[in-house]
Amino acid sequence: MPRLAFSARVSADTLVPAETPTPHGLLRQADCYQQVGVKYPQRGTFHSYAELLHAALLEGDSTVSHYVPQPYRLRLGRRIYIPDCYVVQAGQRRVVELKPRGEFDDAMQRAVTAFLAEHRQHFEVIANESVFAREQEALNWLHIVRALVAARALDTCADEQAVLDDCRSATGITLGALCDPTDRLAAPRREIALYRLLHRGRLRASLAEHPLDFTTEVRLCD
């Protein structure tokens, strides 16, 4: 009963999404992950494995332009609530909370949904299980993101054009055919170029079922 009372008293100092620093205590107590992304090019902290996988799936979704983990510090009465992720997808702004089985306090959800709706943001609770169901896809995207972050300074314009030309010449070409692993000089550049094209949504690959390897098929996007 008292929880319903805070529905009218949701507030935030700012609704400009910026990652809320994770206290050392939480960093040491929770199963935290830190990862630099391409769409969030800072060291983001994810408070669970599900949050990390969710961020990886956002990286792989070409309709998502940005995301920010732990974006706001909302006040609900005397409680502080920090949502898990802020997502800009196809021009729409979403705020996402990940919970086991999608179970979230009803009163809190109503309050936060109403508050964010006033600011044209959609609040959504996602079940961890729905993220775990796409774990392989997320792990493949994590692999791609790590490679792209490590090779930020690499210029691959010419290689990207070459990869696109190869993909146009054949349908369903494999990653091994695009990046010859025996060519130690060119293969790393071609691999990064390929990953960049995949990340931008110019190419698509079958990443949902199997680990990314030289047999993975790559196609041009329609």
Binding site: L27, A30, Q34, V36, H143, R146, A147, V149, A150, P188
Partner: protein, 418 residues
Amino acid sequence: MRLTWRQRLMDEPGYCNFTAWPVIDPNTLPVTKRRGFLRNRHIVAQALAGRSFAEVAAANGVDLSLVSVLLQRSLGGDPDGAPRLTMALVPGTHIRPGRRRKALPSLAAPAGARGAFQHLLATVPGLQAALDTMLVAAITHDRHGQNVTPQIFHAELLRLLRDAHWPEDTYPFTAVRQGYETARRYYHRRGQELQLPKPKPTRVIRPLSPAHAIYQDIHIDEHTYDAHTTLYLSLDGQIIPLRVSRVTLILAVDAATDCYLAYQLCLTQRPNQYDLLALLRQLRSPWQPLPLTTPGLQYAPGACLPSALGTPFILAGLGVVRLDNALAHLAHSVRDFVCEREGATLNLGLPNHPKGRHPVEHAFDLAASHAHRLPSTTGSHPHDVLREARKNLDRPPTITLRALEEALSVTLTEHNVG
């Protein structure tokens, strides 16, 4: 939905074994029920052994339907609950909680009071919650509670009923002594239930997906060694002796291949961020074998760390770097190196769950088995029989740091070709 005995046996075939059922000593039962219990037990045991029900009924001189009834009583019931098993074979045992269908006894229409108290609790709004609140306050010695006795409990029950405008000509007002006795029994039973420790919330830890490629899942941890020795530091031409009793080994292990990737020996019991950074940098520099000076030590053929195998192994991208939550691992320099420079994922793991990084813990087990062969070891714990003997306290057997470095180098690299 209630399960039939057949469905129960199909779901949980272990119940087919009657010898695994709980045992009730017939001598503990009242004499009037003992004979019936023995007969029922015999019937169920034979039925579960696979004999036809007709044979079992004929052998025991009972009606055929009784065999099914007994099996249903002992095995049927709530699918989420445990079956009553042997307890259901005691004649007269109530399998389902009683539920009153008749109106409660009143002055105008006297009747039996079976199930009347439970009916009250279920019918009067807020009655059970109010009684529980009073009991909880008494059990937890709440400052606003009261010391409850069965008399007080009964009086409070009557007061709550009057507040709820319960008719005065109806149970429990019409059967004061019977009502009091039921309230007393409820008071003791419910009080015991409320005092039971509440189950702690358990955290379900999801198993990690196994890594399939080298460098994709790297586990790092530290291990302290006993090495009573003296180091000689040369500073501005002066030789300074320095006593060392503990050194720490930091080891990086690849989870997919169980290969040791790098190690760093620190001359301290508490390594800091720079020691960890030195280890991480070793992943990016080719490993060189030590020139061995200790007699009897030599590298196994092909023994090395992966970074000695060439550029592809030095430039390989890192996946997840798993550390424990030591303060040195939280240093921004470490986090920046792993995340910003290498593009890898940093995971500090769950506290008190070292088995999440079992490859590296197993590696230390291997290394400790060699280190504990030295008579100067302090062992794994204060009561370890392997720890240093008293007679060696004055003149402890020593191992030189160089010998320890060489022994570790040989042991760890040998593991990679084993």
